[in-house]
Amino acid sequence: MAKFIGQRLAQSLFVLFGLSLLIFFIARVVPGDPARAALGFLATQDQVEKMRAEMHLDKPFVVQYYYWFTGLLRGDLGKSSYTHRPVTTDLGQFIPATLELILFATLISLTVGQVTGVLAGYFRNSWFDGLSRLISYLGIATPSFVVAILLIFVFSQLLRLAPSVGRLPIMVAPPPTVTGFMVLDALIAGRVEVALVALKHLLLPAVSLALIHIAQEGRITRTSIVENLDKDYITMHKVHGIRTSRLVFKYLLRPSIIPTVAVIGLDFAFLMSNAFLVELVFMWPGFARYAVTTMLNKDLNAMVAVVLVIGVTFAMVNLLVDILITFLDPTIRIQRRGG
């Protein structure tokens, strides 16, 4: 097991190194003037030249990469030319907001996906199964930014049920930052009302992100349930008169957990990239909106950092999922031990 993890870690590190080279290359070879962008409107040409030197933009690619890499080893990702702050400070401020959103979305997609999947599987070919199939098709075919806009239009603008902008109403002062998760921080500060408002703000963006995964997880669970429903042991249990709920939870749901866990890793990465546009639509002050804004503003340091953060998260989640599956699935466990 340790060997397996070590191997995977080494592989991930290699991939991340390659990714850093790739994104660094993309960010540096193209025309544009990031120094000018960093300085603002009324800067003179002299000031721009000085800034270029300060940002090492006058050096060859390899030298620039060396500076960046040694900085990385010191935990310094450079300064954002958009916010005028160290990129690490920015990341620290923005990542929790996105994590909160993604985790909430995962929670929604897991629970709703499982429930619909189980129901659709158990009552297969019923109207419910058909409906869930239709919704899952729609869910997969609808880009999350379209879902976001439709949700805002219907639930926020027409029905006025949920807010569509930001994490908290403007006049509500945010609770002191502890975890960076608005809901948790509000609870820690003992402000239940604020936590509830924050939760309300989370709702629409999280659902926009979750919809496609609800659809996918629902289908996976359904397939697994349907497969197992035909197995002899289930028929046996049925004959023995075991309660349906027990049947579902003890015997049917368990096999579906493995494929569900397997897709979570992939889901997580996609949630992160879908969040790019969803955060933009909801003005969510998170990492993804920061990512898009800095990319559009040619903020080189921020852009490289942002892509790497996503790469690292992706790699870590996948590693975690692999390990989890190894523990959950005895056949794989034995295979690995042998091989």
Binding site: V15, L138, F145, L277, V307, G311
Partner: protein, 298 residues
Amino acid sequence: MWQERKADLVATMKLRRQSLAKGWYKYSRNPLSVLGLIVLVLIGTSAGLAPYITPYPAHAGAFTNFREAGQPPSWKHLFGTDRIGRDVFTRVIFGYRFSLLLGVVVLSLGVAPGVVLGLIAGYRRGTWVEIVIMRITDVFLAVPPLVLALAITAMLTPNLLNAMFAIALLWWPWYCRLVFAVASSLRNQFFVREAELCGASRAHILFREILPNCVAPILTKMTLDMGIVILLGASLSFVGLGAQPPTPCLGTMVADGAKRLPGEWWSTIFPALAIVLVILAFNLVGDGLRDVFAVEEV
């Protein structure tokens, strides 16, 4: 001799026709897939004939009429007009042109190199060739495609061509991986070994022996990917990195209209639904193909 070959040919043709008919039978048993195909054909034809069938073809190009801006849907303007006074229905149909074009160009640019690299890596599994190819593939797949596509297009001059280029650049690794999986499982099969023993060239083995076995999954994946690529293109144009005005582009139209919600809802809701429809159609057709080819996982 000639007669024999002709008979041979006829036999093959007959076989092909039969398998085609069998495939269609399988496909047509799923009403959703048939529906998807019908929608797709409708979209394709109307996009192709857009200049002849839309009510105001001029509205897809250099045209302004600020006095007619923001009109709600009516018989005159089925989907209303946008902030420039252009017919939204016309622009949605023209928008399909560019969405489909994007999908086709990206896949034709991206699939070929991916397939070739995948074949080579799969066949030469265990050598440094495989390691190099597959690790580069890993790097490209280390982040979701939207992230890299955004990064690349943000650096280039925004236009349809660059958006296509950026997405195509990210698309080959998926096919590389897919073909690699098939090829590496086939390379020890009897028919490959046999060809090797007969002294067939490497190209023959790769393209005549192994490749035909990858066609089914590739085709299925391409159909499903059309939807994803169109989605990605829409996302890029949503943030302003796609085709430039006045080119009608579905993603741009959604982004543009979203600022005018809820008042002028028609200028964003209709293009949004149009995107959903085309992606849905491709997914349904892709699912149908998956059943026909009995492809497990693509």
